[in-house]
Symmetry: C2
Subunit: 206 residues, 2 copies
């Protein structure tokens, strides 16, 4: 079952889950490397050694496939550590997130994807369902864990914290369109935790 797509082609059927995983990986690679323009069923099917018919059956559009692919591809990198130090864990996660966008080359393709989600109603619904809301849920879990551990007050509004943290990044990326490298993640995390009434390290003097 571990053969590459090229070797497998024409040698019988792969399990659907395996094909699905390869299609998602191929779509993510194309999205990050070449942007939304490269994300077509034709090219993804070719890259994954799958049939276009299968892709049409599983996803309503190439962009919907790209949204799910980006979620899957970034899932491990963007996972939330829980070392019991909320500040350090958020800085680590957000540094990974910003690194994916900048050095990882995802800023352009992800902007395009979110951009397309604003004009295409179906894609907007899909993007929210397969990326936006699931990622918010993961962040909520980490912040609620901090509430249980006493690092955040029980009545802290975790959704507002999430909007302040990742919203800050998207604000620079999508609305201001300024470089993300200038964003001081330490200060951003400190401000969000302190704003929610949590305990933080003292602000570094810059």
């Amino acid at each position: 079952m571990g053969a590459t797509p090229a070797l497998r082609r024409g040698r019988g059927r792969r399990p659907a889950e395996e094909v699905r995983a390869e299609v998602l990986a191929a779509a993510a690679r194309l999205l990050i490397a070449e942007g939304m323009r490269a994300v077509t069923f034709e090219r993804i099917a070719h890259a994954a050694g799958a049939s276009k018919t299968t892709l049409y059956k599983w996803w309503p559009s190439p962009a919907a496939l790209a949204a799910e692919a980006y979620y899957r591809e970034s899932e491990t990198l963007l996972s939330f550590p829980d070392t019991g130090d909320l500040h350090a864990d958020l800085v680590a996660q957000m540094t990974a997130f910003l690194g994916l966008l900048t050095h990882g080359g995802a800023a352009g393709p992800v902007s395009e994807l979110i951009g397309a989600a604003q004009t295409d109603r179906d894609l907007g619904e899909t993007w929210s369902r397969v990326y936006g809301l699931p990622r918010r849920e993961l962040a909520r879990r980490r912040l609620r864990s901090a509430q249980r551990q006493g690092e955040l007050p029980a009545d802290a509004d975790v959704d507002i914290m999430i909007d302040q943290l990742w919203g800050a990044c998207y604000h620079r990326l999508l609305v201001l369109k300024v470089p993300l490298d200038d964003l001081d993640v330490e200060r951003l995390v400190t401000a969000a935790i302190r704003g929610a009434g949590g305990s933080t390290r003292p602000l570094a003097t810059s």
Copy 2:
């Protein structure tokens, strides 16, 4: 000079500034009422009683015109009060901003415009230059005034505050795609001011 475009047409030239203002007003009306699809040079020229040639001369694209129109049209509504009470002034400004997006019907059209700015490089540059950065500059002035008045520490990072406040709104609008009505502006403003080390009213218990 106060005649309506329909009456003026064919009765000699209006000053360029007057034409420009009417074109911007017409573009903003079309954008908010019918979305980006309605924003064409043809329809704007007709609505403003101007020639399409003039529009082509002044703006590189209908979307670039729409971005400038949205800035102009919202300038008064989104101005920053400075009563000496930063919390109240930010709540007032952000309530106006969120009201424009929700009751004012701007959420859809503005999402479309920002969405288009992610795929069209020229529009992205224009959007940032005529909307994103000028609005950030206005917010900076209000926050710096609060620093001078002692409501915010002198070393507060005003750009991070701006990302946290308006970024929170755009995060819900563009990335999560959830209703903006659920955003508790009082808490958001309190969290941003407290996060920056400023003095705030106590958090209302909900």
